[in-house]
């Protein structure tokens, strides 16, 4: 039940001047959740609608379970679609909403009754049959929308920012719930989201899009640990890209004082992706004991900076530090570490970059 998209292209506008997706190919493995992740305008929703058949591609191919469905009408594709704003039938009860897909196929009443009550049990809304959508909370509505999409036993479940309209707490709850639902149903699922946390947490496969193109596709840890481009690194985990150069087999990055041996020729340009969580700060000027000070100053990966801004967000602290060259770097540290060190706004600090991903810079040959 895998989904395969091949060289899919779609442009919008009277003169086809707006790019939706640009010759995109990917495969969503069977029985898994695949995330289509990207910032708004990256083409992820367009891609999902193309798979559903709600948009007609300008070129390319969609296969569901090996069957070419590019020209199959939506109603025969057997896909379940869940919209960001639920799109429940407002004038129908919860029961009629969930039963809709079966009743338009003229399924026998006994089958409909059985299936609807089973699905309402699955989404934990038994007893809500007679309610109207307006009488449900946002989270409940989205669960009904999922039950409705699952009623027709779709080959693929397509979720278009399903939690986008919900508040943060309900989002996290529903995320957990969706994961356990998927463990019960194992329906091949495509999830469109702009929330990297949602994508990394829910899916086994991530397709990262930008400007209608695929930036990188792979498992969440592949993308996180081996970002293929500066965009991927900064989108996943908010990494800062710092460029450096190679000299005598060592890549050095001036501002963060990082030096690392690489297998590249002298003069090659390299990039370091530094994530906020991978940096620790030590307060300077305070009483560092001899050994710590020695280590701090002599460590090639530790250099001086000053704290420009500091915001406490619950259990952690977000800091913005200014590097010697004037560049800014975001740092995220556990709250207790910041408090133990007594770091405050305006303090001089030493950077300790604990983990960094170094890769050759992409050279643009003109």
């Amino acid at each position: 039940m895998s989904v395969r998209v091949e060289s899919m292209s779609k442009r919008f506008g009277a003169r086809k001047e707006v790019v939706g997706v640009n010759s995109v190919s990917f495969t969503a493995p069977a029985h898994k959740i695949t995330s289509l992740l990207g910032p708004s305008g990256s083409g992820k929703s367009t891609l999902l609608r193309l798979v559903a058949g709600l948009e007609v591609p300008d070129g390319g191919k969609v296969e569901i379970h090996g069957e070419d469905v590019t020209l199959t009408p939506v109603r025969e594709r057997r896909v379940g679609f869940v919209f960001q704003n639920y799109a429940l039938f407002r004038h129908m009860s919860v029961f009629d909403n969930v039963a809709f897909g079966l009743s338009v196929r003229r399924a026998p009443k006994s089958e409909i009754d059985g299936r609807v009550s089973k699905l309402l049990g699955l989404v934990q809304l038994t007893g809500y049959e007679r309610r109207l959508p307006d009488q449900l909370s946002g989270g409940q509505r989205q669960r009904i929308a999922l039950a409705r999409a699952l009623a027709t036993e779709p080959r693929v479940l397509l979720l278009d920012e399903p939690f986008g309209a919900l508040d943060a707490r309900v989002r996290v709850e529903l995320r957990e719930w969706l994961r356990s639902l998927h463990e019960q149903t194992h329906v091949t699922t495509l999830l469109v989201t702009h929330d990297q946390e949602e994508a990394l947490e829910l899916s086994e496969h991530v397709v990262l899009l930008a400007d209608g193109n695929i930036e990188q596709a792979g498992t969440p840890s592949e993308l996180y640990e081996n970002p293929g481009s500066a965009f991927v690194a900064s989108f996943l985990g908010g990494a800062k890209v710092i460029s450096g150069s190679v000299n005598q087999g060592r890549a050095s990055f001036g501002p963060i004082g990082l030096s690392q041996s690489v297998d590249l020729a002298d003069g090659a340009r390299v990039e370091a992706f530094v994530r906020p969580q991978d940096v620790r700060l030590e307060k300077l000027g305070a009483a560092l004991d001899g050994a710590a000070l020695d280590q701090a100053v002599n460590s090639p990966a530790t250099r001086e900076a000053w704290v420009e801004r500091l915001v406490k967000v619950g259990s952690y602290v977000k800091l913005s530090v200014v590097l010697p060259g004037g560049d800014r770097l975001s740092v995220q540290m556990p709250r207790h570490e910041v408090e133990e060190r007594g770091i405050g706004q305006g303090d001089r600090v030493l950077l300790d970059v604990r983990h960094v991903k170094v890769s050759p810079a992409i050279d643009y040959v003109i």
Partner: protein, 309 residues
């Protein structure tokens, strides 16, 4: 903290008072102005219609109404509305569907064209049909061959009425459809519903109050239309006069009580329509909540024929 009583403009804040509320004096003046205007231009004329109609007593009123020519005018009015409204209902829903679901070249031109009957004077509209179907009109030879008479006959009145009332349903339904979007239709499509199933199980229940509202406005206008119908009618008594034309004829003959008696019928239709319209708008809002109140926008001229004399 007590507000300054009788102050102009937004007074001092007071507990439980909306921030935008004006001072008491200002509020009183605004209400008085609105009420005075309404009374002078709506209630007084309406009262005059009924008082004059009943001036010679109930008996005379009744005789004016059951006059054969008047009865024929009533029949023709209902016939014209009875044909024009269903036609415009089908066309209006179809056009609104087309315009809200599809993007195509000429779409905005079509939206503009739908409003054409509102922007053209009804008399000009009537003349257009005389030029097309009249004795020297474009289609005259064809009509002669088929032995059909349109101008100065019942078909002309039906066509003119249809033309004049044609935007009412379309505009109303289009507004409702655009306000509601097509997510529910797309959801139904992915669930395997056919075009017809989507229309009658999803779209129709969504737009039914808008449709009903449009039909009510359309009917009110169809029954009250004077200008265009007057041009194509020929004023043949007992044959091609509608209620508004009958009022004009009676009035022209200084038969005031009769004219006002017939006019009062139109006024009653208008009042009934207003109540019905209000109820439908209320029902529509209830079913739409919390979405936009697309039903609010009322093409005001739609009602103009209602109490015309």
């Amino acid at each position: 903290m007590s507000g300054v009583v009788g102050s102009w403009g937004p007074g001092q804040a007071r507990l439980g008072r909306p921030a935008l509320e004006e001072g008491r004096l200002m509020r009183g003046l605004l209400i008085a102005a609105a009420m005075g205007f309404l009374g002078l231009f709506l209630l007084v004329p309406l009262a005059v219609v009924f008082l004059t109609a009943l001036r010679d007593g109930l008996n005379a009123y009744w005789h004016a109404v059951i006059d054969p020519d008047t009865l024929s005018a009533i029949r023709l009015t209902f016939l014209a509305a009875g044909i024009a409204v269903p036609l415009n209902l089908v066309f209006g829903v179809g056009a609104a569907w087309l315009l809200s679901k599809y993007e195509f070249t000429g779409r905005s031109l079509l939206i503009t064209l739908i409003d054409l009957p509102f922007s053209v004077s009804p008399v000009v509209a009537g003349l257009i049909f005389v030029l097309l179907f009249g004795a020297k009109g474009w289609f005259a030879p064809l009509l002669e061959q088929l032995d059909l008479k349109i101008i100065f006959a019942v078909p002309g009145i039906v066509i003119a009425t249809t033309f004049i009332t044609f935007p009412l349903v379309a505009r109303e339904v289009l507004a409702v459809m655009q306000a509601q979007g097509s997510d529910e239709e797309e959801a139904a499509l992915t669930l395997g519903a056919s075009g017809w199933q989507i229309f009658h199980r999803i779209t129709l229940p969504k737009i039914k109050w808008g449709v009903l509202y449009g039909v009510i406005l359309c009917n009110a206008r169809a029954m009250g239309e004077f200008g265009a119908v007057s041009v194509v009618s020929g004023h043949i008594r007992g044959e091609t006069t509608t209620i508004p034309l009958q009022v004009e004829i009676l009035y022209g003959e200084y038969h005031f009580a009769g004219a006002f008696a017939v006019a009062s019928l139109l006024a009653l239709v208008a009042l009934f329509t207003l109540v019905l319209k209000h109820w439908v708008a209320w029902q529509g809002r209830r079913s739409l909540r919390p979405q936009q109140d697309a039903l609010i926008q009322v093409p005001t001229e739609a009602m103009q024929g209602g109490a015309a004399i």
